[in-house]
Amino acid sequence: MGLYSLYVINKSGGLIYQRDFADIVKMDTNDTLRFASIWHSLNAIATQISPLKGCTGITHLEAESFDLHCFQSKTGTKFFVTCTSEMQGVPKLLRKVFDLYTDYVLKNPFYETEMPIRCELFDVNLERLVAKQ
Protein backbone atom coordinates (compact mmCIF):
# COMPACT_ATOMS: atom_id res chain seq x y z
CA MET A 1 0.00 0.00 0.00
CA GLY A 2 1.83 3.03 -1.21
CA LEU A 3 -0.18 6.03 -0.08
CA TYR A 4 1.97 8.80 1.36
CA SER A 5 -0.37 11.61 2.24
CA LEU A 6 -3.73 13.24 1.55
CA TYR A 7 -4.42 16.96 1.17
CA VAL A 8 -7.72 18.75 0.79
CA ILE A 9 -7.85 22.37 -0.34
CA ASN A 10 -10.84 24.68 -0.53
CA LYS A 11 -11.82 26.70 -3.56
CA SER A 12 -9.62 29.65 -2.65
CA GLY A 13 -6.55 27.45 -2.36
CA GLY A 14 -6.29 27.23 1.42
CA LEU A 15 -5.38 23.92 3.01
CA ILE A 16 -8.27 22.51 5.03
CA TYR A 17 -7.10 18.96 5.70
CA GLN A 18 -3.80 17.14 5.66
CA ARG A 19 -2.97 13.59 6.75
CA ASP A 20 0.14 11.42 6.43
CA PHE A 21 -0.31 7.67 6.02
CA ALA A 22 3.26 6.47 5.93
CA ASP A 23 6.56 7.09 7.62
CA ILE A 24 7.85 9.88 5.47
CA VAL A 25 9.74 13.08 6.08
CA LYS A 26 7.19 15.26 7.83
CA MET A 27 6.75 18.79 6.57
CA ASP A 28 6.00 21.42 9.16
CA THR A 29 2.61 23.16 8.96
CA ASN A 30 3.84 26.25 7.15
CA ASP A 31 5.39 24.09 4.44
CA THR A 32 2.20 22.09 3.97
CA LEU A 33 0.23 25.34 3.60
CA ARG A 34 2.70 26.58 1.03
CA PHE A 35 2.59 23.26 -0.81
CA ALA A 36 -1.19 23.45 -0.99
CA SER A 37 -1.27 26.98 -2.37
CA ILE A 38 1.46 26.15 -4.90
CA TRP A 39 -0.62 23.23 -6.12
CA HIS A 40 -3.68 25.45 -6.34
CA SER A 41 -1.78 28.00 -8.44
CA LEU A 42 -0.35 25.28 -10.69
CA ASN A 43 -3.87 24.09 -11.39
CA ALA A 44 -4.99 27.60 -12.22
CA ILE A 45 -2.05 28.09 -14.59
CA ALA A 46 -2.75 24.74 -16.26
CA THR A 47 -6.34 25.77 -17.07
CA GLN A 48 -4.98 28.93 -18.72
CA ILE A 49 -2.21 27.47 -20.82
CA SER A 50 -4.02 24.33 -21.91
CA PRO A 51 -4.07 24.02 -25.71
CA LEU A 52 -7.55 22.46 -25.54
CA LYS A 53 -10.71 24.08 -24.32
CA GLY A 54 -12.42 22.89 -21.17
CA CYS A 55 -9.39 22.06 -19.07
CA THR A 56 -10.23 22.15 -15.37
CA GLY A 57 -6.89 21.31 -13.84
CA ILE A 58 -4.18 18.72 -13.35
CA THR A 59 -5.28 15.17 -12.51
CA HIS A 60 -2.00 13.27 -12.49
CA LEU A 61 1.58 14.31 -11.92
CA GLU A 62 4.46 11.84 -12.30
CA ALA A 63 7.72 12.54 -10.56
CA GLU A 64 10.81 10.39 -10.10
CA SER A 65 10.07 9.08 -6.65
CA PHE A 66 6.32 9.59 -6.33
CA ASP A 67 3.03 10.21 -8.13
CA LEU A 68 0.47 12.86 -7.35
CA HIS A 69 -3.21 12.33 -8.19
CA CYS A 70 -5.77 15.09 -7.88
CA PHE A 71 -9.57 15.10 -7.91
CA GLN A 72 -11.51 18.33 -8.21
CA SER A 73 -15.18 18.55 -7.27
CA LYS A 74 -17.65 20.76 -9.13
CA THR A 75 -17.41 23.32 -6.30
CA GLY A 76 -13.64 23.72 -6.64
CA THR A 77 -12.62 21.66 -3.61
CA LYS A 78 -9.51 19.67 -4.53
CA PHE A 79 -8.50 16.32 -3.07
CA PHE A 80 -4.99 15.18 -3.87
CA VAL A 81 -2.71 12.41 -2.69
CA THR A 82 0.97 11.67 -3.01
CA CYS A 83 1.75 7.99 -3.46
CA THR A 84 4.20 5.51 -4.95
CA SER A 85 4.23 5.09 -8.73
CA GLU A 86 3.12 1.46 -8.47
CA MET A 87 -0.09 2.17 -6.63
CA GLN A 88 -3.29 1.18 -8.43
CA GLY A 89 -6.81 2.50 -8.25
CA VAL A 90 -5.98 5.96 -6.91
CA PRO A 91 -8.66 7.94 -8.81
CA LYS A 92 -11.27 5.56 -7.39
CA LEU A 93 -9.81 6.06 -3.92
CA LEU A 94 -10.07 9.82 -4.35
CA ARG A 95 -13.73 9.52 -5.30
CA LYS A 96 -14.34 7.47 -2.17
CA VAL A 97 -12.60 10.13 -0.08
CA PHE A 98 -14.91 12.66 -1.71
CA ASP A 99 -17.88 10.47 -0.72
CA LEU A 100 -16.66 10.50 2.89
CA TYR A 101 -16.25 14.27 2.67
CA THR A 102 -19.83 14.79 1.47
CA ASP A 103 -21.11 12.52 4.24
CA TYR A 104 -19.15 13.29 7.38
CA VAL A 105 -18.05 16.85 6.72
CA LEU A 106 -20.80 18.51 4.70
CA LYS A 107 -23.64 16.91 6.65
CA ASN A 108 -22.07 17.88 9.95
CA PRO A 109 -23.96 20.92 11.28
CA PHE A 110 -20.87 22.03 13.21
CA TYR A 111 -18.66 22.38 10.17
CA GLU A 112 -18.28 25.77 8.49
CA THR A 113 -17.65 25.56 4.77
CA GLU A 114 -14.13 26.44 3.58
CA MET A 115 -12.80 26.11 7.14
CA PRO A 116 -10.26 23.46 8.32
CA ILE A 117 -11.88 20.06 8.72
CA ARG A 118 -12.09 18.89 12.32
CA CYS A 119 -14.66 16.11 12.17
CA GLU A 120 -13.92 12.98 14.14
CA LEU A 121 -16.12 10.73 12.00
CA PHE A 122 -14.30 11.86 8.84
CA ASP A 123 -10.93 10.92 10.36
CA VAL A 124 -12.15 7.56 11.60
CA ASN A 125 -13.75 6.56 8.32
CA LEU A 126 -10.82 7.82 6.28
CA GLU A 127 -8.46 5.61 8.27
CA ARG A 128 -10.77 2.67 7.73
CA LEU A 129 -10.89 3.33 3.99
CA VAL A 130 -7.11 3.57 3.65
CA ALA A 131 -6.54 0.48 5.80
CA LYS A 132 -8.80 -1.51 3.48
CA GLN A 133 -6.66 -0.64 0.45
Binding site: T102, D103, L106, K107, N108, P109, F110, E120, L121, F122
Partner: protein, 189 residues
Protein backbone atom coordinates in the same frame (compact mmCIF):
# COMPACT_ATOMS: atom_id res chain seq x y z
CA UNK B 1 -25.07 1.52 4.36
CA UNK B 2 -28.69 2.18 3.54
CA UNK B 3 -29.14 5.48 1.74
CA UNK B 4 -32.91 5.57 1.91
CA UNK B 5 -35.03 5.92 4.98
CA UNK B 6 -38.67 5.09 5.24
CA UNK B 7 -41.39 7.63 5.59
CA UNK B 8 -45.12 6.98 5.75
CA UNK B 9 -46.79 7.41 2.36
CA UNK B 10 -49.04 10.26 1.49
CA UNK B 11 -52.08 8.20 0.59
CA UNK B 12 -54.98 8.14 3.03
CA UNK B 13 -55.65 4.43 3.09
CA UNK B 14 -54.77 2.35 6.12
CA UNK B 15 -51.77 0.09 5.82
CA UNK B 16 -50.45 1.90 2.74
CA UNK B 17 -47.14 0.79 1.30
CA UNK B 18 -44.25 2.79 2.69
CA UNK B 19 -42.39 5.29 0.51
CA UNK B 20 -38.74 6.00 1.03
CA UNK B 21 -36.86 9.25 1.35
CA UNK B 22 -33.21 9.98 0.64
CA UNK B 23 -31.11 9.77 3.79
CA UNK B 24 -28.85 12.51 2.46
CA UNK B 25 -31.79 14.86 2.02
CA UNK B 26 -32.87 14.25 5.59
CA UNK B 27 -29.31 14.65 6.88
CA UNK B 28 -28.95 18.04 5.20
CA UNK B 29 -32.33 19.18 6.46
CA UNK B 30 -31.52 18.14 10.01
CA UNK B 31 -28.08 19.73 9.78
CA UNK B 32 -29.79 22.99 8.87
CA UNK B 33 -32.24 22.58 11.78
CA UNK B 34 -29.30 22.30 14.15
CA UNK B 35 -27.46 25.27 12.64
CA UNK B 36 -30.63 27.38 12.71
CA UNK B 37 -31.14 26.61 16.39
CA UNK B 38 -27.49 27.16 17.23
CA UNK B 39 -27.65 30.75 16.00
CA UNK B 40 -30.51 31.51 18.34
CA UNK B 41 -29.20 30.07 21.60
CA UNK B 42 -26.33 30.88 23.92
CA UNK B 43 -25.47 27.51 25.47
CA UNK B 44 -25.66 23.74 24.99
CA UNK B 45 -28.72 23.20 27.21
CA UNK B 46 -30.74 25.71 25.21
CA UNK B 47 -29.72 24.05 21.96
CA UNK B 48 -30.82 20.65 23.24
CA UNK B 49 -34.03 22.29 24.45
CA UNK B 50 -34.76 23.68 21.00
CA UNK B 51 -34.12 20.35 19.31
CA UNK B 52 -36.36 18.69 21.86
CA UNK B 53 -39.11 21.18 21.15
CA UNK B 54 -38.92 20.53 17.42
CA UNK B 55 -38.96 16.79 18.05
CA UNK B 56 -42.02 17.20 20.22
CA UNK B 57 -43.97 18.75 17.38
CA UNK B 58 -43.00 15.82 15.18
CA UNK B 59 -43.99 13.35 17.89
CA UNK B 60 -47.47 14.76 18.35
CA UNK B 61 -48.20 14.49 14.66
CA UNK B 62 -46.55 11.08 14.36
CA UNK B 63 -48.84 9.66 17.03
CA UNK B 64 -51.98 10.84 15.22
CA UNK B 65 -50.84 9.49 11.92
CA UNK B 66 -49.53 6.15 13.16
CA UNK B 67 -52.59 5.49 15.29
CA UNK B 68 -54.64 5.87 12.12
CA UNK B 69 -52.41 4.19 9.56
CA UNK B 70 -50.92 1.23 11.41
CA UNK B 71 -53.13 -1.82 11.33
CA UNK B 72 -53.93 -3.32 14.69
CA UNK B 73 -53.08 -0.45 16.99
CA UNK B 74 -55.44 0.36 19.78
CA UNK B 75 -55.39 3.15 22.31
CA UNK B 76 -52.81 2.25 24.90
CA UNK B 77 -53.66 3.02 28.51
CA UNK B 78 -50.74 1.35 30.24
CA UNK B 79 -47.15 2.53 30.46
CA UNK B 80 -45.61 -0.65 29.11
CA UNK B 81 -47.96 -0.80 26.15
CA UNK B 82 -47.32 2.79 25.15
CA UNK B 83 -43.57 2.48 25.51
CA UNK B 84 -43.63 -0.67 23.45
CA UNK B 85 -45.58 1.24 20.79
CA UNK B 86 -42.92 3.95 20.76
CA UNK B 87 -40.09 1.44 20.80
CA UNK B 88 -41.34 -0.52 17.79
CA UNK B 89 -43.99 1.22 15.71
CA UNK B 90 -42.83 4.82 16.01
CA UNK B 91 -39.16 3.98 15.55
CA UNK B 92 -39.91 1.77 12.55
CA UNK B 93 -41.97 4.47 10.91
CA UNK B 94 -39.40 7.19 11.49
CA UNK B 95 -36.09 5.34 11.20
CA UNK B 96 -36.83 2.10 9.41
CA UNK B 97 -36.07 -0.23 12.31
CA UNK B 98 -37.17 -0.81 15.89
CA UNK B 99 -35.12 0.67 18.71
CA UNK B 100 -32.62 -1.67 20.30
CA UNK B 101 -33.83 -2.02 23.87
CA UNK B 102 -36.52 -0.94 26.27
CA UNK B 103 -35.57 -1.06 29.93
CA UNK B 104 -37.00 -0.09 33.24
CA UNK B 105 -34.81 2.24 35.23
CA UNK B 106 -33.31 0.87 38.42
CA UNK B 107 -33.01 4.14 40.27
CA UNK B 108 -36.63 5.19 40.47
CA UNK B 109 -40.07 3.80 39.81
CA UNK B 110 -40.99 6.31 37.18
CA UNK B 111 -37.86 5.90 35.01
CA UNK B 112 -37.77 3.99 31.73
CA UNK B 113 -35.12 3.90 29.03
CA UNK B 114 -35.18 3.42 25.29
CA UNK B 115 -31.79 2.48 23.88
CA UNK B 116 -30.64 3.10 20.31
CA UNK B 117 -27.18 1.81 19.45
CA UNK B 118 -26.70 4.02 16.39
CA UNK B 119 -29.28 6.78 16.11
CA UNK B 120 -29.82 7.58 12.46
CA UNK B 121 -29.88 11.25 13.27
CA UNK B 122 -26.34 11.27 14.63
CA UNK B 123 -24.81 9.26 11.81
CA UNK B 124 -23.01 12.11 10.10
CA UNK B 125 -22.61 14.44 13.06
CA UNK B 126 -19.28 14.89 14.86
CA UNK B 127 -19.76 17.12 17.89
CA UNK B 128 -16.76 19.43 18.47
CA UNK B 129 -15.09 19.26 21.89
CA UNK B 130 -16.16 22.72 22.95
CA UNK B 131 -19.83 21.72 22.84
CA UNK B 132 -19.20 19.03 25.42
CA UNK B 133 -21.98 16.53 25.95
CA UNK B 134 -24.40 17.82 23.32
CA UNK B 135 -26.40 15.00 21.81
CA UNK B 136 -28.46 15.87 18.74
CA UNK B 137 -30.63 12.86 19.54
CA UNK B 138 -32.33 15.35 21.85
CA UNK B 139 -34.56 15.59 18.79
CA UNK B 140 -35.48 11.91 19.22
CA UNK B 141 -36.11 12.53 22.91
CA UNK B 142 -38.50 15.30 21.86
CA UNK B 143 -40.31 12.94 19.49
CA UNK B 144 -40.76 10.43 22.30
CA UNK B 145 -42.06 13.14 24.61
CA UNK B 146 -44.46 14.39 21.93
CA UNK B 147 -45.90 10.91 21.45
CA UNK B 148 -46.19 10.21 25.17
CA UNK B 149 -47.72 13.54 26.14
CA UNK B 150 -50.21 13.42 23.28
CA UNK B 151 -51.14 9.88 24.34
CA UNK B 152 -51.91 11.10 27.83
CA UNK B 153 -48.70 10.26 29.70
CA UNK B 154 -47.08 13.47 30.90
CA UNK B 155 -43.33 13.04 31.38
CA UNK B 156 -39.84 14.50 31.11
CA UNK B 157 -37.44 13.08 28.56
CA UNK B 158 -33.73 13.48 27.91
CA UNK B 159 -31.11 11.90 25.64
CA UNK B 160 -27.65 10.78 26.78
CA UNK B 161 -24.60 9.23 25.17
CA UNK B 162 -23.78 5.93 26.87
CA UNK B 163 -21.11 4.21 24.72
CA UNK B 164 -20.99 0.45 25.19
CA UNK B 165 -19.78 -2.66 23.30
CA UNK B 166 -17.91 -0.58 20.76
CA UNK B 167 -20.95 1.50 19.81
CA UNK B 168 -19.58 4.98 20.38
CA UNK B 169 -22.80 6.73 19.50
CA UNK B 170 -25.09 4.56 21.62
CA UNK B 171 -27.83 6.80 22.94
CA UNK B 172 -30.13 6.22 25.89
CA UNK B 173 -33.39 8.15 26.01
CA UNK B 174 -34.41 8.51 29.62
CA UNK B 175 -38.14 8.94 30.31
CA UNK B 176 -39.42 10.13 33.69
CA UNK B 177 -43.16 9.86 34.06
CA UNK B 178 -45.12 12.28 36.24
CA UNK B 179 -46.60 11.19 39.56
CA UNK B 180 -50.11 11.24 38.12
CA UNK B 181 -49.22 8.55 35.60
CA UNK B 182 -47.89 6.20 38.27
CA UNK B 183 -50.95 6.72 40.44
CA UNK B 184 -53.18 5.94 37.49
CA UNK B 185 -51.25 2.74 36.76
CA UNK B 186 -51.66 1.60 40.32
CA UNK B 187 -55.40 2.22 40.27
CA UNK B 188 -55.89 -0.01 37.24
CA UNK B 189 -54.18 -3.05 38.60
Amino acid sequence: MSRRMRVPGTSEKRGTKRTEVSLSAFAFLFSELVQYSQQRVSNVEELEGRLKQMGQEVGERALEMLAWREKGTRKETQIVGTLSFVHTVVWKALFGRAADALEKGTQADNEYMIVDREPLINRFISVPKDLGHLNCAAFNAGVVRGVLVAAGFPCQVSAHFVPQDGYKQRTVILIRFDESVLLREEMKL
